[in-house]
């Protein structure tokens, strides 16, 4: 029994952290958000590193690593709040790998793995149907937990751009998938569960970063002649952030491990991870804003990018309420 990253997994995570620290500072996030576009240079480098295909089987042109490795990358991309179309392409890859025909796999997976094409994803479980990473997407999947999903060319689907609070990613709205693309059998849903884990890992990174920012600020900021972190009203708030972050870490990496090693436990593990990560990342970023006080509420402060991304992620691929309902069903309440 060993609940820790292996040396190789740790290495992947550390390298990702170092790369993003130098290549994707919060200033860069702001530039992309202000421009309303992705950081294309960063995305190109990420594709060269092979991250989009990290969990895609080697036979399909990927690196053939597992969900734990993918989760470490997602966590670091969340920590950096990176403005790249990563998640949409990863969701497409996971869904097509889980349910796609040989032809669909051959057509899409190798190109998604290299970043040659970008993917967008639309969850059609509950309205409104929000599409993730629409800008520049060539392929779209529309997974559905109730049965048949779809995959096809983005140009064949009517996607209306959506102006959401999160400016680090592009979103759209889809009214109908009637007649769109090709069908994906129910097995594709295993890919959605994995996508939930990936998105939860991203939220873990967002929460970790927001907590570190709060702690740094609480150490530096002085009021009434001492650092505000010396006051329990502030320090206990920070301790509660650690509670939320570490519980999330346990549940996210457990779910990632289940996805590869115990797929039968993935439905419950993914639902728990998504509910927890959504709830916890929001509570941590909003609590971090409170620790920052007025400065955290200003446009010029970078916390807003984490806050808005966490709020949005929490609503995508299943809300906490929906995921808790799944948990209740699965434990037999």
């Amino acid at each position: 029994m060993n609940f820790d990253l292996t040396e190789d997994q740790r290495e992947i995570k550390d390298v990702a952290r170092q790369f993003l620290e130098s290549r994707c500072k919060l200033d860069d996030v702001r530039k992309a958000a202000d421009a309303g576009s992705y950081d294309e240079g960063l995305w190109k480098e990420i594709c060269e590193l092979g991250w989009p295909g990290i969990a895609t089987p080697e036979a399909d042109g990927g690196q053939g690593l597992g969900m734990v490795e993918l989760a470490t990358i997602c966590e670091e991309l969340g920590y950096a709040c990176a403005p790249v179309p990563f998640m949409g392409s990863v969701i497409d890859s996971l869904v097509i790998a889980a349910g796609g025909s040989a032809e669909q796999r051959a057509r899409w997976l190798p190109n998604l793995a290299t970043g040659e094409v970008r993917g967008a994803a639309v969850m059609v479980d509950s309205a409104p149907w929000v599409a993730i990473d629409t800008e520049g997407a060539t392929v779209v999947v529309t997974p559905d937990s109730n049965g048949v999903g779809r995959v096809g060319e983005a140009s064949e689907l009517e996607i209306v751009p959506l102006d959401l609070i999160d400016k680090t990613r592009s979103y759209g709205e889809v009214a109908s998938t009637d007649g769109f693309g090709e069908e994906l059998p129910p097995e594709h849903y295993q890919g959605v569960l994995k996508s939930q884990v990936a998105l939860s890992a991203e939220m873990l990174g967002l929460a970790q970063r927001a907590m570190e920012m709060a702690v740094d600020y609480a150490r530096d900021r002085e009021q009434f002649g001492r650092p505000i972190g010396a006051y329990q009203a502030v320090s206990h708030r920070c301790a509660e952030m650690l509670y939320a972050v570490e519980e999330t870490r346990s549940l996210v990496y457990y779910a990632a491990w289940c996805a590869d090693a115990e797929p039968e436990t993935l439905p419950l593990a993914a639902a728990m991870a998504k509910a927890q990560a959504s709830e916890a990342s929001w509570s941590v970023v909003s609590s971090s804003l409170q620790v920052h006080g007025g400065i955290g509420f200003t446009w010029e402060h970078d916390l807003q990018f984490l806050l808005k991304r966490a709020r949005t992620d929490g609503r995508l691929l299943g809300t906490p309420k929906q995921e808790r309902a799944r948990v209740a069903d699965l434990v037999g309440v």
Binding site: M1, N2, T6, A230, A239, E246, A261, V327, V333
Partner: protein
Amino acid sequence: MDLTLTESEAAFRDEARDWFAKNHPGETPRGDEKVEFEFRRSWQKTLHDGGWAGLSWPAEFGGRGASLIEQTLFNEEMGAADAPLPANVLGLVMGGPVVIAHGDEAQKERYLEPILSAEEIWCQGFSEPESGSDLASLKTRAVKSDGGWKITGQKVWTTYAHEAKWCMLLARTDQDAPKHQGITYFLLDMDQAEVEVRPLRQITGEAEFNEIFLEEAFVPDDNIVGEVGAGWSVAITTLMFERAGLGALAVVGLGRAYEELLKLIAERDVGSDPSVRERMAKLKIGLEAMRLGAMRTLTATMKTGIPGPEASLGKWEWAVLNQEMTDLATEILGVDGLKSDEEWTYRFLRSRANSIEGGTTEVLKNIVAERVLGLPRLR
């Protein structure tokens, strides 16, 4: 990362499971505390004969030398089998380890075997009426006398004091030293007229704990563990013993209670109530987070000797979860959840202490803030 058990871990678990199946003592008798305690004393003898008492103790001192993971697996099996706790919990978890780590040869010779066999029960005299969270401010005073020390003061929240032969006692031997440095760790013989034990009735109506009044109680020099004045560090290092193992036991206990709660929900037909479903889902998520956190702590401790940041959370999580679980159960029970003889009502009241005993949640938050997050100290 691999959460499956290795072959030898699985073999150990199977051995423990098998042993519990063959040796389980049956239902613990309720009602008479004395009878219950003797039942658990005899159960500990059975454990000892089977070679399971002192699981973490090195084999040379009569223990099993089990690794942390084996301790965890054993405790999981003990919980799964619903076996009672051994009578001499504090001796096994704290007294023995403290003597092994800090005691001299004569002390090891004298004290260890009777702890394992439950022949001599141990209790812990740390907290005082005016020294709870701020333990180092304790006032119980030890004055040098011929061949030993005379100790005067009051201790509180002492479990098993009325059954105990030995008390792990912290007392101040130097009034002038800084508060952490003037404390000495004594082993007090409870069997003397200068020690008075009074039961402390709690809101559940029972008396799990006691107060101890000391009026010039005598402790010979030989009964000091570690050096005079070094009691604080002796106490602190041993407060950490077997935390990981006990964490696993707490996880199993909560898991069983959750199963019972599921049954209750079915019996009372409230499974379609959205608020019940929502709370049960949150509880499940919290229970899993705590179980997995304990596994992470175990891994980190075995690899590096240093638990990770999640290690400070187990006790805190346990209190949150147990209080919420018993709150939900008694709410579902309605008026029955207010009745004195209802088991859930008892647990509901008992769980109010969970966020106080063994470190209040507020102190745990201070520890996380200062030692894990590196925030400035309060003082």
